[in-house]
């Protein structure tokens, strides 16, 4: 079979592009540690979120030197706790669930977002290096008050952070 020179160029180019795409995503995953949110957070009874030790009292908890866990409940039309306060230079694992319908959990202006599904726990780990104030919005339509559903995520300077300061 004779292949035209330009066709060969096209084949090589297309192959380079595919390999390039895969290489970039692999670099993001292995090199930068970027991860996908999966079902590893497990499930719970959607009617008994209050009975679950993690979500009965939505909060941020220190679990290691610079490690924190945030248990967040989304419901019509609020996030709990609000604001979510964490210190800078920390690794925070969020556990997000919903007490009623499907909600979104989106930290505005960042790549941190997930769905909050009744009966499911979304588990996501995020590293916060700098103090910052982020808006938190629901980005899954959840009812008449959806457009008002917002919260705050505040990354405090380390010396200003008080553990358990979240109401």
């Amino acid at each position: 079979m004779r292949i035209h020179t330009y066709e060969k160029l096209w084949l090589v180019g297309a192959l380079v592009l595919i390999v390039g795409f895969i290489a970039t995503v692999t670099y993001g995953s292995v090199g930068l540690g970027i991860s996908m949110i999966d079902d590893s957070g497990g499930t719970l009874s959607p009617n008994a979120v209050d009975d679950d030790g993690r979500f009965a009292e939505p909060r941020v908890e220190q679990v290691g030197e610079n490690e924190y866990e945030a248990y967040v409940v989304a419901s019509q039309f609020i996030f709990q706790p609000d604001p979510i306060e964490v210190p800078a230079n920390s690794t925070v694992t969020f556990y997000v669930t919903s007490a009623d319908v499907i909600h979104g959990f989106s930290v505005v202006g960042t790549n941190v977002n997930t769905m909050a599904i009744p009966g499911e726990v979304a588990r996501l780990t995020v590293e916060f290096d700098e103090p910052a104030e982020y808006g938190l919005i629901c980005h899954e339509y959840c009812g008449a008050g959806h457009h008002t559903m917002e919260g705050q995520l505040i990354v405090l300077p380390e010396d200003e952070y008080e553990p358990g300061g979240n109401a």
Partner: protein
């Protein structure tokens, strides 16, 4: 309208050209669509730049990002 015009429209020149003999034959490698090549190369370049921009600038540069153990 002039009936002569209608007739010429319904019988375009191409149908006449098919019946004429070939003017020149083009070999396999003589076919050289350099303009198409240039256009596709440009598209390709745009695609590569857009990929690098969306991934490395818009996505990776827009942290914090969800991280985890692979």
């Amino acid at each position: 309208m002039n009936p002569g015009v209608v007739k010429s429209l319904s019988m375009p020149n191409s149908s006449v050209a098919v019946e004429t003999t070939r003017e020149r034959e083009l070999g396999h490698d003589e076919f050289d669509p350099i303009g198409t090549l240039a256009l596709i190369a440009l598209y390709f370049l745009v695609l590569v730049v857009m990929w690098l921009f969306t991934y490395f600038v818009e996505f990776v540069g827009n942290g914090p990002t969800v991280v985890g153990v692979v």
